[in-house]
Subunit: 334 residues, 2 copies
C-alpha cells in the first residue's frame, strides 16, 4: 500500500454514470493531494470523458478497465458468477487484494452488497454486515442501520448493528456516548415482534448507551444517535424519508404558486427552503458504508451527482483516518 489513500470508484454505476462519477472523482483529486483514485469501468468511455478536464497531473488517477456492467435488472447472485468483468466485481477485487483502501459505487445496491459479502471477509465478531445510512434530523444526523442489506435478521445481528453503529457515531461522527435505540412501534419493552423483544434484552445487558425503543414519529426529532432495525424496516424508513421530504417540498411549491402574495412570500423565504433541502440532500452527505467487512465499501445513491461522489471520497478518507474497521474489530468495552 502506498502512503496515499487509494480509493477505487465504480465509474459505470448509477443513473448519472459516467459523467457525474468522473466529475466527482476529479473534484476529489483537486481537493486532496494525498489520495489516489482508480476509476473502474470501460476504458474508452472513461478516457473520452476525462478529455473534458484539465487535470494538471494524472499521476493520482488510474483507470482499471472493466468491460461489463451489472444493472439493476441483473439478479445479484447471477451477476457475481457471470459478470466477473464488471466494474463492481473488479472494484471489489481491488479492495480484496489491498490494491485499494476503499471502493465506492452508485450501482445496484443488491449486486454491490451480495458481491461484497461473497468476495470480502467479514470482521471476526460480525455475522452480517449492515448498510449504515446517515439520516438528517432536527438537531443533526442519526445513523440508521441496517438500512437495506438484511431483510431477515436475528436478535444477535441487531445487537451487532447497534455496536457497530455506536462505534461509528463515536469515532467517525465524534459523538460522545451515542444514544442507541431500537426502531419499534411503541416504547415499552414488551412492544413489537419476538425479534425486537429479544434484541431489547440483549441491548439492555450490553455496555452501550441503550435508551430503549424509539417510535418512527420521534426519528426526525433526533431522539437517538443510532437507530437499529432490520434491513426491511431500515429501507422503508430511509426511502420514506426521501419520498416524504421531496413530496412535501413539492406540495409547498404547488401551494406557493397559487397566488401572487404566496409567490412573493416564497421568493423572500427561498433561502430557508434551500437550507432545509440541503440538509436532506444525499449528495451532500455522501454515501452509506457497508459496515462489518474487513474493507471499506461505500454505497452512494443511484441518482448521485458529482458532489455525492466527492463527498463519498471524503468519507472514505475519514473512515480510514478514524480506523473504524479496527474499532469494530476490537469491540472495545465488551
Amino acid at each position: 500500500m502506498s502512503e496515499k489513500i487509494i480509493v477505487a470508484i465504480d465509474a459505470m454505476g448509477g443513473d448519472n454514470a459516467p459523467k457525474e462519477i468522473i466529475k466527482g472523482a476529479v473534484c476529489a483529486l483537486k481537493e486532496n493531494n494525498n489520495i489516489k483514485i482508480i476509476l473502474v469501468g470501460k476504458q474508452e468511455i472513461i478516457d473520452n470523458e476525462l478529455k473534458n478536464y484539465d487535470l494538471k497531473s494524472y499521476e493520482n488517477l488510474e483507470i482499471l478497465d472493466a468491460q461489463d456492467i451489472i444493472t439493476n435488472d441483473d439478479s445479484p447472485t447471477w451477476a457475481i458468477r457471470n459478470k466477473k468483468e464488471s466494474s463492481i466485481v473488479k472494484g471489489l477485487n481491488l479492495v480484496k487484494d489491498k490494491s485499494a483502501d476503499g471502493f465506492i459505487s452508485a450501482g445496484s445496491t443488491g449486486a454491490l452488497l451480495s458481491c461484497a459479502t461473497l468476495l470480502l471477509k467479514r470482521l471476526p465478531k460480525i455475522s452480517r454486515p449492515a448498510l449504515a445510512t446517515l439520516l438528517p434530523n432536527l438537531n443533526g444526523v442519526s445513523l440508521l442501520l441496517d438500512s437495506g442489506a438484511n431483510v431477515d435478521c436475528k436478535a444477535i445481528y441487531l445487537e451487532q448493528f447497534a455496536k457497530m453503529g455506536s462505534l461509528y457515531m463515536e469515532h467517525v461522527m465524534k459523538i460522545k456516548n451515542p444514544r442507541v435505540a431500537l426502531v419499534n412501534i411503541g416504547i415499552e419493552r414488551s412492544k413489537g415482534s419476538l425479534l425486537l423483544k429479544e434484541a431489547y434484552e440483549l441491548l439492555g445487558g450490553s455496555k452501550l448507551n441503550f435508551i430503549g425503543n424509539i417510535e418512527a414519529r420521534d426519528i426526525p426529532y433526533g431522539s437517538a444517535d443510532v437507530l437499529v432495525c432490520d434491513g426491511f424496516i431500515g429501507n422503508v424508513v430511509l426511502k420514506h424519508t426521501e419520498g416524504l421530504t421531496k413530496g412535501l417540498f413539492h406540495m409547498i411549491k404547488n401551494e406557493l404558486n397559487k397566488n401572487i402574495i404566496r409567490k412573493l412570500g416564497g421568493f423572500l423565504a427561498k433561502s430557508a427552503f434551500i437550507d432545509i433541502k440541503n440538509k436532506f440532500d444525499y449528495n451532500k452527505i455522501g454515501g452509506a458504508p457497508f459496515l462489518g467487512l474487513n474493507s471499506i465499501i461505500i454505497k452512494v445513491h443511484g441518482s448521485s451527482n458529482y458532489n455525492a461522489i466527492k463527498n463519498a471520497v471524503k468519507q472514505c478518507v475519514g473512515f480510514i483516518e478514524s480506523d473504524i474497521i479496527g474499532q469494530i474489530k476490537d469491540f472495545p468495552g465488551e
Copy 2:
C-alpha cells in the same frame, strides 16, 4: 335499532378527554339531526362537562356510566379481564348488543383492538381485522392497512387486507377501480420477505387492480390507492409520516425565523403552509376504522381534538350509509 344512527363515544380516552371528546360529540349533534350519541364514561364528569354547552335538547344524547378507564400503561389482555367497567369495554358491548351502530375511541390502541377482537365477531372471510388509516399524499389520500393491529401476518391476511382496502376506497371514498400495492423495498416481484413474495402471488391472481410492489419513497406521491402491509410496517409508515411532517414544519419555522426577510416571506406565504398542515392534520381526517369486524369501530388519534371526534362521527355515518360491512361480508367479484 332506532331510525337514527346511534354512535357510542368513549368520553374518557385520549390525551384531551373528556373536554375535547365531549365538545366533538356536541358539535356532531348540532350538525346532524339524524344521529344519536351515547357518551360512555364517568357520569359525574360528563354531566359536569356538559354544563358548558347550551344544547337545545338532550334527546339525542345519552350517557352510559363507566367508572373505570383503561390507560396506555395497562396490558390489553389484563384490562379486558379486569376492567369490565371501563369505557372501552362498555362501549364495545353497546355495539355488540346492537344498542349502538358504531363506537369511537381515542383511548389505548392496543386495548381497543384487543377488546374489539375478543368481544366482537369477525366477518366470515376475515382471519384478522386490520386498522385502516387514510394517509394524505400529493394527489389526495391512500388507505394504509394494516396500520398497527397485526405485527405478525400471513400472506392470506395481507390478501384480505387488500380486498377490504379496495372495497373501502371504492365504496366509502368513491374511487373507481382502486390501485392496490404491497409496501416493499423494491418494485420487482422477487423483492422482500417470503411473506411478501407469497402475498404478491396471491394478489397477482386476484381480481383486484393489483399494481405490484410500491417503495416507501413513492407513497407520498399517491402512486397507489391501497397500501397493503403488515401492522408493523404500517405503523412505522404512519408514525413516520406524522413525525417527519411535523419535524419538517418545525425546521421550516426555525429557518424562517433566522432573518427579517425570511420572516416577511414566511408571513406572506403563511396560508400556503396552513393549507398543507391541514392536509396532514389527523383531526380533519377523523379516525381509522378497524376493518373486518361485524361492527364499526373507529380509533381516533390519542391527541385528537373536538374536530377529530366530530369528523369520526361523520365517518361512522358514512360507513353505515355505504354499508362497508356488507360489502366486505360479500367480497363481490371473487
